[in-house]
């Protein structure tokens, strides 16, 4: 063997705690090990971005035409309004719902292999016997990767918000509007990255516990589905105390998120939701009903309708609240994962 | 040395197929258990929701006098169930893709990735027979489970494509549009197709997670193609002049002729409607939300006297089952083709 020069001095012997290796050493390591996954995420978001762009331009054009048309009540303008409504509720709705799976897929497929692949293939016996401490190795990966994913998905969330901006209201009567708290809430600039990072964190922990990649991915998708369902069905309406009003005209009627409605009579609670049939038949039986609101036919008889709702102006506070607890949850989960890495292995 | 008469066979009799039953079970029981749990959870959801939907529909349909405020309220309640079920209808579309990809991707890819094919394919059973038994057995189990769930889906969403919904003033849509890919024939067909794609991808890519991703991507592309382009052409659409279609018909296209020549397609241009029709607002039935091809054409009455004739191409709801078999047929053919290709690859090359 030829004599070669050692490029660094032999390290200190037996002294407690030599100076730690700098964190930036992990940059290249993380990139080399996860570049394929990151490339896949970029390709997926890129393809979806193209899709959103291509389908969003006609939607915006239809919307611009509808709001620029005067007079609003003419049949021609009504036609444009109808066209916009049709395109808004057709593919747009389906797209919005299917996009909900994207944060889950990205987080699961990117996060599960970080630890599970090392454990499944045995390469942890290499990675965790190097000079870079195990918990630092895990921390570096479990912070760098979510940060990158958050940046990519935040950019995508901006595009999603642009796409759905025509739904936000403001325009002639009859123009299709949607509450920003609906299906699309978790796809916006703050919530999309927050949900992606949460899925990543769950996947990392699942990978550490289950130690096999594909089962960890499946477990992550299942947990994510439960969490997303809980957030949409129960948690979201309580982020801020809903406003309550007796007015029948909600501010920004179609864009407000109606939580619940109830009727009182003489200051006491009468019934919640829609009136019971006997009261309907008694007071509202004349001709066709008043459509979705029975207040006009019940008001003369002493009933007051109350509505609790969240106005669309609260969109950004809600985004930050949801983003906040998701981020807190992710940080907690990642902390637990790193603690597990430091504690046990083989 | 004694001369012996050798009566050995030229080639030994192949081992019986049933030998593979226990092998397949042990190797794939985790995946099968996960699929069963998922489908079970969905079944519970569909059962509970379906009861609500059916209940609401029955109440709305039986309500007398029709059109009263009380009956309108019941109709609104039924429409309200559609709000949630519409989301479910869309989200459920991912299930065939997920099941097929996660079940099919690892079958061969895991063996190749971990190297255990060097064990499995040097046993006495034979390589392609091993692969055939595994793929067919898993496919059959998946088909049975998903067919059962597909039947449940059809039942659950049944009231949304019932005849007469339009007259009641409730939401109704064509069954060829509504959850079409999730019904008793198409749900298993899609699952099997993705399963076969996953198996072939696993054979080609030789790594589990990329094979799963490839299968998911292929499913997305295929599903979009089917919904956007293929489905409307399975049978030549019926064409009728100014028909009074039930809400369950799937309107594919509309156009108007005048003096035997094409005047315009789709909705009438502003110029015509402002001249001949004087609707105060959008004509009824045109607003979003009632779904389907309900009712007669709203402009027929005002444009007809001026020589414009409406033509509509549509698929009637009675074609639901032929369409199911057609879509199921080509998906199954695709699955068989891909599995055959996978087996051929397994037979001819490995290491």
């Amino acid at each position: 063997m030829s004599a070669v020069t050692v490029s660094a001095r032999r390290g200190a012997d037996g002294q407690a705690g030599p100076r730690r290796l700098p964190w930036r050493r992990m940059a290249g390591v993380t990139w080399r090990q996860h570049r394929l996954a990151l490339a896949g995420v970029v390709v997926l978001l890129g393809a979806l971005a193209v899709l959103l762009w291509v389908t969003g331009l006609p939607l915006h054009r239809a919307w611009a035409a509808a709001i620029a048309c005067h007079p609003a009540s003419s049949p021609g303008c009504q036609d444009l309004i109808g066209n916009f409504g049709a395109s808004a509720t057709g593919g747009g709705k389906t797209q919005g719902i299917l996009l909900q799976v994207v944060p889950a897929l990205i987080g699961a497929f990117a996060g599960a292999p970080v630890l599970a692949r090392e454990l499944e293939t045995g390469t942890f016996r290499f990675a965790w016997t190097q000079g870079f401490a195990r918990w630092r190795w895990a921390l570096a990966k479990l912070v760098a990767l979510p940060v990158i994913l958050a940046a990519l998905t935040a950019a995508f969330g901006v595009l999603v918000s642009w796409y759905y901006q025509p739904y936000a209201g403001g325009g002639p009567a009859g123009l299709y509007q949607n509450s920003p708290f609906g299906d699309l809430f978790s796809l916006r600039e703050v919530t999309f990255p927050a949900w992606t990072v949460a899925a990543f964190a769950i996947a990392a922990l699942a990978g550490m516990l289950i130690r096999r990649v594909v089962p960890a991915i499946v477990a992550t998708l299942a947990v994510y589905a439960g969490l997303a369902f809980a957030a949409a069905s129960f948690l979201r309406e309580h982020y801020l105390t809903p406003l309550v009003t007796t007015s029948l005209e909600l501010p920004g009627t179609s864009t407000a998120w109606v939580i619940s409605q109830w009727f009182t009579k003489d200051g006491r609670f009468a019934f919640g939701g829609n009136p019971p049939l006997n009261i309907l038949n008694q007071y509202c039986s004349g001709g066709k009903g008043a459509g979705p609101s029975f207040a006009p036919c019940l008001a003369p008889h002493g009933y007051t309708q109350w509505t609790s709702f969240q106005p669309a102006s609260r969109l950004w506070p809600f985004q930050w609240i949801e983003g906040g607890w998701l981020l807190g949850l992710s940080a907690a989960i990642i902390a637990v994962t790193i603690w597990l890495v430091a504690r046990r292995a083989a | 040395m004694q001369t012996a008469t050798l009566t050995e066979e030229i080639s030994p009799r192949p081992l019986p197929w049933r030998r593979m039953a226990g092998v397949i079970w042990r190797q794939h029981r985790l995946a099968l258990a996960a699929v069963t749990v998922l489908l079970g959870a969905l079944a519970v959801f569909l059962w509970i929701s379906g009861l609500q939907v059916h209940h609401a529909w029955a109440a709305a349909a039986a309500c007398r006098p029709a059109g009263s405020a009380g009956c309108q309220d019941l109709a609104a309640t039924f429409n309200g169930t559609w709000n949630d079920m519409s989301i479910a209808a869309i989200l459920l579309q991912v299930v065939p893709g997920l099941i097929g990809a996660f079940a099919g991707g690892p079958v061969l890819a895991r063996e190749l990735e971990t190297g255990t094919f060097r064990f499995a394919w040097t046993q006495g059973f034979g390589r392609w027979r091993w692969a055939l038994a595994t793929l067919v057995a898993l496919a059959v189990v998946l088909a049975v489970l998903t067919a059962a769930l597909g039947a449940l889906v059809s039942w659950c969403f049944g009231p949304f494509s019932a005849a007469g919904n339009q007259a009641l003033g409730v939401y109704g849509d064509s069954p060829i549009v509504l959850v079409f890919g999730l019904r008793a024939v198409t749900f298993p067909a899609w699952t099997l197709a993705v399963f076969a794609i996953g198996a072939l991808a696993g054979m080609l890519i030789r790594r589990v997670v990329p094979a799963i991703i490839a299968a998911l991507a292929a499913y997305a592309g295929l599903a979009i193609a089917a919904v956007a382009f293929l489905r409307e052409h399975y049978l030549t659409p019926l064409i009728a002049s100014n028909p009074n279609l039930p809400g369950t018909a799937w309107v594919i296209g509309q156009w108007w002729t005048r003096d035997g020549r094409l005047a315009f397609a789709g909705n009438p241009p502003d110029g015509l409607t402002s001249t001949y029709c004087n609707f105060a607002q959008s004509p009824p039935g045109k607003s979003a939300g009632t779904g389907g091809g309900g009712g007669g054409n709203p402009w027929a009455a005002c444009l007809g006297p001026h020589g414009y004739l409406n033509w509509t191409s549509y698929q009637p709801a009675s074609r639901l089952w032929p369409f199911q078999w057609i879509e199921g047929g080509w998906l199954l053919a695709l699955a068989v083709l891909l599995i055959a290709a996978t087996l051929w690859l397994a037979h001819h090359r490995a290491a």
Partner: protein, 242 residues
């Protein structure tokens, strides 16, 4: 200095003790052979020494009192596990980069020179190398870290006789030239004969014999390591050690 010191060390998986009451002082500056039949606990002992797993009983320190698995210990020990785990999807160059990034010391010129000698191309994916080449690559990465202690778990199992000879020659010259202590477990006793100067004999989770080879051979009147090992293991366990 003792490169590995264990007192009352034990490791339990579930209810099975893979290693029990292990008390050892392995001196520095030697090539130590860890010998024993399958299931003897060799891999468990090595995993404990390199800090991959915490002990269930007792304690183990390395390199003169450093706690196993501590940063100071990781710094001075290079480990090549059984089946030489490498990132199969990454190239040889990537593996070099990763090892260099994760360690304080890395002798890049040495690694390049050795890989060139072995004819292992830098661009090839680690998973595409032959079994023997993977073992050589793993050893190169370990030696390039300039460790004080090199720990090898069944390193020559996948190598053909010529490669095996070259592998052990490299290990030996590193031990001699750089003063690297070596702890390796193996079944191949004939190879160990030429290289090992300290022996630890294990069976059924316990250390049966430990000491300098010369002393042991003299004390037990055996001519070779193989005979000593076989005889001792036959006496204490029904399995035959090869």
């Amino acid at each position: 200095m003792n490169v590995v010191e264990a007192s009352g060390l034990g490791k339990r998986y579930g209810r099975t003790w893979a290693l029990r009451e292990c008390t050892l002082q392995i001196p520095a500056g030697r090539v130590t052979a860890l010998v024993g039949p399958n299931g003897a606990g060799k891999t468990t002992l090595l995993n404990l020494a390199v800090g991959l797993t915490p002990p269930s009983a007792g304690e183990v320190t390395v390199l003169g009192g450093r706690r196993a698995g501590s940063p100071a210990a990781l710094d001075g020990i290079a480990f090549v596990a059984q089946d030489t785990p490498l990132y199969k999807g990454l190239s040889v160059a990537d593996m070099l980069f990763i090892t260099r990034s994760l360690n304080r010391r890395f002798d890049q010129p040495y690694a390049h020179a050795r890989l060139a000698e072995l004819g292992i191309p830098l661009r090839r994916r680690a998973g595409k190398l032959s079994g023997g080449q993977q073992a050589q690559l793993a050893l190169t990465l370990a030696l390039a870290r300039r460790p004080q202690l090199l720990v090898l778990d069944e390193p020559v199992a996948a190598l053909d006789p010529v490669a095996r000879h070259d592998f052990m020659a490299t290990v030996l010259s590193a031990a001699a030239a750089e003063g690297v202590s070596v702890l390796l477990s193996s079944h191949v006793l004939t190879e160990l004969e030429r290289v090992a100067s300290y022996l630890v004999l294990m069976s059924r989770g316990q250390v049966r014999l430990a000491g300098a080879v010369d002393d042991l051979l003299a004390a037990h009147g055996q001519a070779s390591l193989e005979e000593l090992a076989l005889r001792y293991l036959r006496e204490t366990a029904p399995e035959v050690a090869r």
